[in-house]
């Protein structure tokens, strides 16, 4: 004899199964006469690559107030499922407070040389009211430092889903904005992170 608890548990399981099958509308999938040979399941991919092999983009030494350096990178999405892209970095050093970073989104046709901005065309959209294609303009020290706080490409209010083969170029410009930063140094790592949506 099964216990009363076991009976009640059985009833509960039956109800759960019934509700699950009903709510998903797949009752017919359990029909004994249905035949669906060759079914397969495959996962998608998310692959983001750049044209510079992950090398440093920017280098500035002996800078003085007004000194500037610019570099570009082109990223290509090779995944099979749509993805959002976010941008963040790791920043250190006192000079970062005296450096202005501007990130401009745009395009470069073909395969540009690493760091080259030749042929760069900024997006026509003025995302932040700071100029065509600009998606960040501020102190390097204030650049988002985690994926959770990252810039959403191109803006959080108009997130773009990247599809297979989609490519965008980014121009990074760093300018020393104050003589108060004399004799200092800073470092920065930049990361573009694609995540399936």
């Amino acid at each position: 004899m099964r216990s009363l608890a076991a009976k009640l548990a059985g009833i509960a399981v039956a109800l759960v199964l019934s509700a699950t099958v009903w709510s998903t509308g797949t009752w017919s999938a359990f029909d004994r006469t249905a035949s669906s040979p060759g079914d397969s399941v495959a996962t998608g991919t998310v692959t983001l690559s750049d044209n510079d092999g992950g090398s440093p983009l920017l280098s500035l030494s002996g800078a003085r107030n007004g000194s500037t350096v610019t570099s570009c990178t082109k990223l290509t999405y090779g995944g099979t499922v749509p993805a959002d892209v976010r941008i963040y970095g790791t920043v250190g050093g006192g000079l970062a407070s005296y450096l202005t970073l501007t990130v401009t989104r745009g395009t470069i046709s073909g395969t540009p040389a690493a760091k080259s901005c030749t042929g760069f065309v900024a997006d026509s959209t003025d995302y932040l009211a700071k100029g065509a294609g600009v998606i960040y303009s501020g102190n390097l020290s204030a650049f988002p430092t985690s994926a959770g706080a990252a810039l959403v490409d191109p803006t959080s209010s108009a997130t773009e889903q990247w599809d297979a083969g989609e490519a965008h170029a980014y121009k990074l410009t760093v300018t020393m904005n104050s003589a108060s930063g004399a004799g200092m140094s800073a470092t920065a790592d930049f990361t573009w992170l694609a995540a399936s949506t």
Binding site: A6, A9, G10, V13, V16, F30, T45, V46, T47, L48, S49, D50, D52, G54, S55, P56, L57, L58, S59, L60, S61, G62, A63, R64, N65, G66, S67, V69, T73, L75, G79, V81, A83, T90, G93, L95, A96, Y98, L99, L140, V174, M176, A179, G181, A182, G183, M184, S185, A186, T187, A188, D189, F190, T191, W192, L193, A194, A195, S196, T197
Partner: protein
């Protein structure tokens, strides 16, 4: 369904446990926000700023002092300015308002000054020719851009002050016993 019923009849606890495992797995998959991702990184971007300092071989001293000048006479002095910082800098020469005794006629408006950039005194070959950076009355000189000095660059400046002779007998008598003084300042800016 009949298979499930048979399993249930044989061992309801096992079926229940299996169902809980399935539901738990589904909950994990839905609740974790898991996705696929891929990162492209450009690490090790480096930035460093330079320092901007200068040395003045006549710091807090007069470049030249002339006394008992007569019409047609002159005096000269030199000063070496070096960019001792690690960054290049834009150097500028300015002067204070001359102090003339007597105030009128002002000797500073009579004296002429020629300031020449003689380059690095240590230069021995392919040296640039001396360049005049100012020629005019002592009083009339405004701010003069001396150009950009690279780190460690040194420039020697020669100052030649001349009391022009008016050419007429006694024509400069009004300047007898007159004096003037002025401060020159070299400024470096990044």
């Amino acid at each position: 369904m009949s298979r499930l019923k048979a399993l249930w009849s044989a061992s309801p606890r096992k079926v229940l446990a299996a169902l809980l495992v399935v539901l738990a797995a589904a909950g994990v998959a839905v609740g974790s926000g898991a996705n696929f991702n891929s990162a492209s990184a450009n690490p090790s971007n480096t930035f460093s700023s330079g320092t901007l300092t200068q040395s003045n071989s006549k710091a807090n001293q007069a470049i030249l002092t002339a006394s008992n000048l007569k019409p047609g006479g002159s005096s000269n002095g030199t000063v070496d300015i070096t960019n001792t910082g690690s960054a290049s800098g834009i150097f500028t020469l300015t002067k204070s308002t001359p102090v003339d005794t007597p105030a009128s006629p002002a000797l500073s408006a009579k004296l002429t000054v020629v300031i020449t950039d003689q380059g690095d005194p240590a230069c021995v070959s392919s040296c640039p020719a001396p360049a005049t950076v100012y020629s005019g009355t002592l009083a009339g000189m405004g701010a003069i851009s001396l150009g950009t000095f690279a780190a460690s660059a040194k420039h020697r400046y020669q100052f030649v002050v001349t009391f022009p002779d008016s050419g007429t007998q006694g024509g400069d008598n009004s300047y007898q016993g007159a004096s003037t003084s002025v401060d020159y300042t070299f400024t470096a800016a990044s």
